[in-house]
């Protein structure tokens, strides 16, 4: 039973990681990374590592994507300002 769960979680992680690399738009990539973070948290929990799962949830699913989104926003705003000035 637990093996099956682990297998599913592993495959989901592999698939999402591929998607995160394949998604070339940073804003969307941040979302995919967030999903990857959640799947990893699930994987870690079924691997009996709740501590790690929890921090992956906090860092991988929330903090890192948030930082990426903020960077994307900064760059978009910069472009808009530049275009507006022109």
């Amino acid at each position: 039973m637990s093996d099956a769960l682990i297998l599913v979680a592993l495959l989901l992680v592999a698939a999402t990681a591929t998607a995160a690399v394949a998604q070339r738009d940073p804003a969307r990539q941040a979302l995919v990374l967030s999903v990857l973070g959640v799947f990893l948290a699930v994987l870690f929990t079924v691997l009996q590592a709740p501590d790690v799962g929890l921090s992956q949830l906090a860092v991988g699913a929330a903090l890192t994507p948030l930082l990426i989104m903020l960077s994307v926003r900064k760059i978009r705003r910069r472009r808009r300002d530049r275009d507006g000035a022109r």
């Binding site: 501590d51 929890l54 906090a58 929330a62 903020l70 900064k74 000035a85």
Partner: protein, 246 residues
């Protein structure tokens, strides 16, 4: 180098490394194996020092020196981000306009923020007992604070977030961790030795000697570090504007 050439290089290098890694994976002990000598010792040591969560014991007692390095990485990265994201010569700050927030969102955020903060603190406080600890709780608490940005606006967030105080807290928590470590040296045992305090009753909040203290220091550090980190990125995204290039 042309794109084609790079792809070729990548293909050769990647294939080679893939072969090496695959061969190594086949030699690894099977997944789910029984032999974990260090792990077994760590569990024994953790129980001997009345720390219910072995991971907390490894992090804050047995390998507390690693955690010092990790804390310093976070501290250095925050310091680095503050330096790298400072206002450059050709930039100025613009006050963001007060934002209109829909009432349900506002109500929801104001409800969730305290709950999330308490949740973060709880996770920090119970680090040596149940899954969680300084890192996880610290990140949760710091991220929770930023829900205010959703619920109210950037100015409200800035009011509850005196950045200088958070930066100082970040640094002072590192100091606290180091001072706790140095206490061991002064007492004639080793750096970061967990031998000065009684180990307490198993499975209570004050068990584990130094573990709860170090855990609290890390919790404070992580929380304030994440706040400062997010603040710097938010400043870039919201406030700092480049002057028009001449």
């Amino acid at each position: 180098m042309s794109r084609r050439l790079r792809l070729w290089l990548l293909a050769v290098g990647g294939a080679g490394l893939a072969a090496v890694l695959a061969a190594a994976c086949l030699e690894l002990p099977g997944f789910g194996g029984r032999s974990h000598p260090y792990g077994t010792r760590a569990v024994r040591a953790s129980l001997a020092r009345h720390t219910a969560n072995t991971i907390a014991s490894v992090n804050f007692d047995q390998r507390a020196y690693d955690t010092l390095g990790e804390m310093s990485i976070l501290f250095a990265a925050v310091l680095g981000c503050v330096v790298l994201l400072r206002q450059a010569r050709d930039e100025h700050r613009e006050r963001p306009r007060p934002a209109q927030v829909a009432r349900p969102v506002r109500r929801y955020a104001l409800l969730v923020v305290p709950a999330a903060l308490v949740c973060g603190l709880y996770i920090v406080a119970h680090g040596q007992l149940s899954p969680g600890g300084g890192f996880q709780g610290g990140v949760v608490a710091a991220t929770a604070l930023h829900l205010l940005y959703l619920g109210a606006d950037y100015r409200a967030l800035e009011r509850v977030r005196p950045l200088g105080a958070f930066e100082a807290t970040d640094a002072l928590s590192v100091c606290a961790y180091l001072v706790l470590g140095l206490a061991g040296v002064l007492a004639g045992t080793a750096f970061l030795a967990n031998t000065l305090l009684p180990y307490g009753t198993f499975n209570t909040l004050s068990s584990g000697g130094f573990v709860p203290l170090l855990n609290a220091a890390v919790g404070m550090e992580v929380a304030s570090a994440v706040v400062v980190l997010l603040a710097n990125f938010l400043d870039q995204a919201v406030e700092i504007v480049e002057e028009e290039a001449g």
